[in-house]
Symmetry: D2
Subunit: 300 residues, 4 copies
């Protein structure tokens, strides 16, 4: 048995030093330390292909740059539509604002401000989204699957963003529930106006499962649960199990849903390898993710 | 100010009596009592159309009959793919089993058993799913959108189930992330085998927003969050706000995601009416949902 | 393997019928069903002595009558000081009120109203508490330990309440952190005014451990965690382990504290028997407790 | 409105740089950034006296050194008995060990190992605790209140620890529920063996409220909730409200208990000042506390 070593704080302590120290403690702190170690190992393992799943309002919450960093090591990226929409909104020149969770929602509505807990966004972002889709419709309407559509948006947008990076680095980006997002709404409004576009809902599956088959060794990183986690997990189930796994979620296994299920549960399904290295941290990704990335990046 | 009235338990107490009594207490208990009242009001309001969103592993957890009951009052139903897949699996004659959350996952994997927290399912259900899709492929391949596909499955399956009821009662059933489910996998395997089928990812949106426009007055019921909640919420944003709302979710607003956002937040977005009646209960739907339905059904 | 049986809701369903049905489902619902069964077994087992721990603002939230019911089967009762203070406040004729969690706290302060989430209490309750202690000081100052003090208060108060029932039924009532409560404040104000009273902080321990030794078989019921749970658990550790256990807590084991630790963890400490029957439900006691008691009381 | 600034990770990033950056984001991350700022302000404010409340198994989890650091700025320290017992155990030469939350508890029990989630402790620590109390009984038995007892233990123990530091720095240390701990058990066993010791349960109150009256300006830091938080809060209620506050707790306000109540609620009670600066972070202290302290210590 290894003794717990109390964490000693020092002046000018680096994130990586602190996270290393936490590995020798208990509870979530130790899990964070171990997750950082697994992240480094996953990235250094030349055979390992990383599947990154992103849910929760991470882009509005200021986590975009960190996602961009992680994409440098990502083989397959699966996101909620919301994160991609907010990414595009920022790339079109709009901002998210530091708001107040106790604000009067009726008042905000009158002022045209949408609230995401303590973050505000102006409703007129939708106008610029519409202009973007209007301007580029001829190119967008040719797309026939979701990945293609998202890459095309990434190509067409001027400023750096997640979508653009995925296009430029040719990182497959999947978003099964794209209809459930602002980007989806833009497509809907075009279709409602009589425009033709047919985006097949299942093509993504074929690709992700093919990619999952091709990869010799796989690691999964889940920021939040939801569709991104489940979609990657099912690609493992129908190919080969993953060898590394990090999950950051505030959901709990006792409630039975996929978002809270610990990675270990995936062993029974053949989604995770019996000999794999997994950590499930029950905590808020807006804190855990920056710590994980900052600590890992000192070592790679 | 109304005084809290301590709940008095009596012999043979009915669920509806207990839930009524809880309305006079505090914390989650009061919210449950108020939610029951809102549910009754929503159902009795002839003008109100109910949008039901279902996430979490509710069907495996034995909540199927309750969903079937709720469908009698449902105008639009949005579900995760998983719930529909497990519904179909049961309709094909398979069972979910009472398992143990502490079971050895490696052992389960060897025995071909998938674990969903404390529920087990045999992996060979997939064979019968495949047979079903094989047998009915000619009819299924003609479908061009998700609702049509799900209704068609509901038509083709022999036993009573959620899918069949939606088909028979012509309740529009939407599932934006259908690719992220066992049903999706069946389509994928057909496509992988060279079969042709094109299911448009955005048609659902058109329908749900049209339906949301047509309804004079609307109520939303969210069992869990995820895509079903968000998809319904965005249909409100792009039509008119809902007047009634009940949300049962274990997620918390402080983490910023859509699943945990209180319904009140939707006022800023124009998704919920400023004068609406809303309750967000932070608790496990496997307990809250039966209580809500049992208490409301004594009054309608 | 036993199959999950979907819960069927019927008209006029009794709480006990519903809870029985939940036993055949999954997740928290099943745990509730099993906890009800354990509660019945614990009560029917003539050899079993029940230790009841009460934390959280259960009395303000309207759970007092249920606690009074449970006391009929309780051998040892351990409470936070707050629950006993609020019990005394109600017995002195005051009320708790149904308030609003979104109320303006500055405004409430000006109006002399204390907020407990969505429950309000008038600050002038303290005046009547003071009068009570003033009036009865001569009898109270003779007490030398906490249990004696609490029984004496129970004897002196006119109206029915938890304290009075414990006195009348001679149920030992322990409250290690009595100083941390309104009752404690009353003692403090007397001491601050020069009155003499010495209440030994450790006498309770002697009694509870003696009682724990004498009991052949033991069951524990924890409503919330905190000091009441831990104090009972340590009496088990230093006597013999408990054979039955029910814990209702919103805390999670992953955070490492005693309140969230599952009962199973107590096996390692010798607090819980290896062959015992335990259920830990992660949920809100304001809902779970009424369900448990209502369902069990139909069977005893 | 200030825009959210996405956090940019850089090589060798310091904890304080990262936490500063998080202040410009959303959700818990922003709250952490703001809490760090409040901590620095509270420490730098020469008039402000800091009341530190400690609950949860922080010492076993390796947070002892951080508590020692915080004590340099602490005016009044209130702790659970468990943290002080584990502190004494370590000071007597014992260790806590990195264990496994999935270990077999029956097996651990046979091996004499107590489990605290993923931390192990040998049961024979109790023997050395007993020896310590046996050896020093003559000095300990003279104590008449809890603070005196704890300072005396701090004086008598050889190695550096929380108890020793409180004694040496004359930091008042209160522990209302001392009976609910291993230290309490040692006193109990002496009393059970016929030794005389009378420790008054209410003396602490007198002191803490006096100290709270004397302080011109006050700040509170709550690591977890429980008795330590509530005991400090009531000293504010019966003196003057606190001007600064930081709360780290995994509990939620919706459940109604004191541990989860947001600091803002204290305004209604007169515990917190209407013009105070407060942050309540819903997260695990084993991660938040090291971040807070490391970031603040670069600035003071």
């Amino acid at each position: 048995m290894q003794p717990v070593k109390p964490v000693k704080i020092k002046k000018d302590m680096k994130v990586s030093e602190l996270v290393d120290a936490l590995k020798e403690t208990g509870f979530n702190a130790r899990k964070l330390g171990e997750a950082s170690e697994i992240l480094v190992e996953m990235i250094k393992d030349k055979e390992c292909k990383i599947f990154l799943g992103l849910a929760g309002a991470m882009v509005p919450a200021g986590m975009k740059s960190i996602i961009l960093d992680l994409l440098d090591y990502t083989y397959i990226f699966v996101s909620t539509g919301a994160n991609l929409t907010h990414d595009l909104i920022e790339a079109l020149g709009h901002k998210h604002y530091k708001g107040d969770e106790k604000a009067n929602d009726e008042e905000l509505h009158k002022q045209g401000i949408d609230r995401i807990y303590d973050i505000f966004m102006k409703q007129d972002v939708y106008k610029d989204l519409e202009k973007f889709f209007e301007k580029h419709w001829q190119q967008l309407e040719k797309c026939t699957n979701i990945k293609e559509l998202l890459w095309k948006i990434g190509k067409l947008v001027d400023n750096d963003c997640i979508l653009k990076k995925c296009f430029e680095k040719k990182i497959p980006i999947f978003c099964p529930a794209i209809a459930d997002s602002g980007i989806g709404l833009m497509i809907w409004s075009k279709k409602a106006a009589g425009k033709k576009i047919i985006i097949d809902a299942f093509e993504d599956m074929k690709e992700i499962i093919d990619f999952a088959w091709q990869a010799k060794k796989k690691g999964v990183i889940y920021i939040g649960g939801g569709v991104p986690k489940n979609f990657i997990q099912q690609s493992m189930q129908f190919s080969t199990p993953a060898s590394y796994g990090i999950q950051i979620s505030t959901d709990k296994e006792e409630y039975g849903g996929s978002s809270g299920a610990k990675l270990k549960e995936g062993i029974s399904w053949g989604k995770m390898s019996e000999k794999g290295k997994f950590i499930s941290i029950i905590s808020d990704a807006t804190i855990i993710l920056p710590l994980l990335v900052a600590s890992a990046f000192d070592k790679i």
